[in-house]
Symmetry: C2
Subunit: 176 residues, 2 copies
């Protein structure tokens, strides 16, 4: 019997569009007009007037609750589940106030993923999987499987990893 | 350079004594007098008058917040950290209302464990570690490392796994 391969999938920037909301709130509160184009190769905290404090939006209990679902992610993940084990692995420990919102969001939009396949972690080297789709390449560093970089503004200049630009490319990679 | 081995450690029944509190609340509310001795080889839900409903105590937001720390666990884990990478890996997804209480409890009693080394998961086969110390042997089933059964009333008759009866035995196993 062939072993089913396992794909671990990050949440923010991969299935949840946290950046659009983050930019919108920041622009509103700091009278700025930053766009995705201003973030090429950079994190918002590197260009925001308020610097690292822009992370404080993540501490809001509700920030992660109403994010827009990344286009195609639901359909492709349901297809992936036919041939792979799929886990959602999200870094939540730095912002523990986000637990309930993230869980609620997943329950609402990805109810087809078993609850036992949801992981809130910090350091993703703890993840045992064959693939990790993530927008932060530092998560690949001690990951034993293959890292696949999901394109986000901050990572566009990185060239070390396999890359997917959208969920259609994830489908092409794993389902063709 | 030799790689540092990683030990994943379960929370309930291993570093947190959830069973004493569970028994106390159940006995109070159902006018029963169950003790640890009545639970040899059994889960509380198998002997409780209310059956599986006894699990509902876990849904209380505060249930996991004031559990007694298992004797010796803090001291031994601090010793382990000198030679191993230590992660806390707890099944929390079935009772999402427990997130904050579990996190608060860990922050209070195990503040020497980096937040990035805390994992809330469901299925523990997702854990990449060399050892897993856990009182539920089903967590060893698809775990790639070595499972070490921490004695709890429900598992006393199991013989398939390496076993530790207390934190002194954990120390003896890993530090001698």
């Amino acid at each position: 019997m062939q072993q089913v391969l396992r794909i671990a999938i990050d949440m923010d920037g991969v299935i949840a569009d946290h950046l659009s909301k983050h930019l919108e709130l920041y622009n509103r509160d700091y009278q700025d007009q930053l766009t995705f184009a201003d973030l090429q190769g950079k994190k918002l905290r590197e260009v925001a007037k308020c610097g690292i404090e822009v992370q404080n939006y993540y501490r809001d209990l509700a920030f992660f609750r109403d994010l827009v679902v990344m286009e195609g992610s639901q359909e492709v993940i349901q297809q992936l589940q036919k041939n792979y084990e799929v886990f959602i692995t999200t870094a939540a420990m730095e912002f523990p106030s986000s637990f309930q919102a993230k869980y609620g969001w997943l329950t609402e939009h990805f109810d087809f993923i078993p609850k036992g396949n949801i992981v809130f972690c910090g350091n993703k080297s703890i993840i045992q999987a064959d693939y990790l789709i993530d927008d932060n390449s530092y998560n690949f560093k001690n990951f034993k499987g293959k890292g696949i970089l999901y394109t986000a503004p901050h990572n566009v200049f990185e060239t070390k990893h396999a890359r997917v630009n959208n969920w259609q490319e994830v489908a092409a990679l794993f389902l063709s």
